[in-house]
Amino acid sequence: MTEYLSLSLILFTIGAVGVLVRRNAIVVFMCIELMLNATNLAFVSFSRQTGNLDGQVAAFFVMVVAAAEVVVGLAIIVSIYRTRRSISVDDASLLKS
């Protein structure tokens, strides 16, 4: 059990670091997906440990929501690309003081 959880946590951390480090918006998105997947793994592991399927149902919902989120997010990225011709997250720096 702990090994699954450790793996989940490691994946989650790597995803979080990726969000901080990568500049391509789509790659950042992918890192977020990685984080979501890692939590799914944790859910499923806990479901097995506690012996009821609530964890799996939760993982299922996470997947659905992740799908919806990807759809909208990518549409946004395409829209931004159309106007700005760039998908670097560093370009949105208007809040710079």
């Binding site: 959880l5 790659v27 592991s45 097995r48 012996g51 399927l53 149902v57 299922f60 549409a75």
Partner: protein, 258 residues
């Protein structure tokens, strides 16, 4: 167990690849590896339904979506190696290590007890058990999620739709615009020469040559120019040709009267 210990290192390395690879397409591929490995792990954790759903939804749909958008946006887009924000990498590494170590150490303290296993819950089959919960206890969440999906689909359509605000330019409009550009900037109103015209080769990466030997910039597709794959190095050919035309027969002749 074996499954786990085989797949776990693979997943970690792929995830790290997601951090380190430069091309976005390679990152997408790394993520796909992670997702498929996860699906197998789900199967090992007595969640066959999720195993299937993971492959279908995540790897099949979501990764495809990612790849399509990557194609749209620019498959070649690369992140520069140099970090623009000072100290960001260090902060990220430090925070990541701290976070990871904290959580991993915490697990040892928090998780306790034996693994009960899903044999009882999966008595009627895993989908059955899931369906019971989904349409029983969590039916409200289910309904809201469906509403969410619809909203997401509509939203995506709205965002990606491009409304043309003016009328599509006709051929006559385009011809008139070409004449105007010629008057304003001197740009040639005619068709640009196709690649390779008057050149030694007619490959798509070979620029066309003007009568005096200079290369025509806009005869090559911009994406090839962007990739830096324009063939050049014609200088030798041009020099040789010039010599031939000037009647300089002292060096290697290519045939001719002499």
């Amino acid at each position: 167990m074996i499954t786990f210990w085989t797949l776990a290192p693979l997943m970690v390395i792929s995830a790290l690849g997601l951090l380190f690879v430069r091309k976005a397409v390679h990152a997408a591929l790394c993520l796909a590896v992670v997702m498929i490995s996860l699906a197998v792990l789900y199967a090992a954790l007595d969640a066959p339904f999720l195993f299937a759903v993971q492959i279908i939804v995540y790897t099949g749909a979501i990764m495809m979506l990612f790849l399509f958008v990557l194609m749209l946006v620019g498959v070649d887009t690369e992140d520069a190696v140099k970090e623009t924000i000072g100290g960001q990498r260090w902060i990220a590494v430090v925070l990541g290590l701290a976070f990871g170590i904290t959580l991993v150490l915490a697990i040892g303290q928090t998780v306790a007890g034996a693994v009960i296993g899903l044999n009882a819950a999966n008595g009627n089959g895993n989908p059955y058990g899931l369906a019971e919960l989904l349409f029983g206890k969590y039916v409200l969440a289910f309904e809201f999620t469906s509403a969410l999906l619809i909203t997401a689909a509509v939203g995506a359509m709205v965002l990606a739709h491009k409304e043309r605000l003016d009328s599509r330019p006709t051929q006559a409009d385009r011809a008139a615009q070409r004449m105007r550009d010629y008057a304003a900037t001197g740009r040639h109103p005619g068709n640009p020469p196709t690649p390779g015209v008057f050149a030694r080769h007619n490959a798509v990466d070979t620029p066309a040559l003007l009568p005096d030997g200079t290369a025509v910039d806009h005869s090559i597709s911009p994406s090839i120019v962007a990739r830096g794959q324009v063939r050049d190095g014609y200088d030798d050919d041009i020099v040789t040709l010039k010599r031939q035309l000037d009647g300089d027969d002292s060096d290697d002749s290519l045939g001719g009267e002499k």
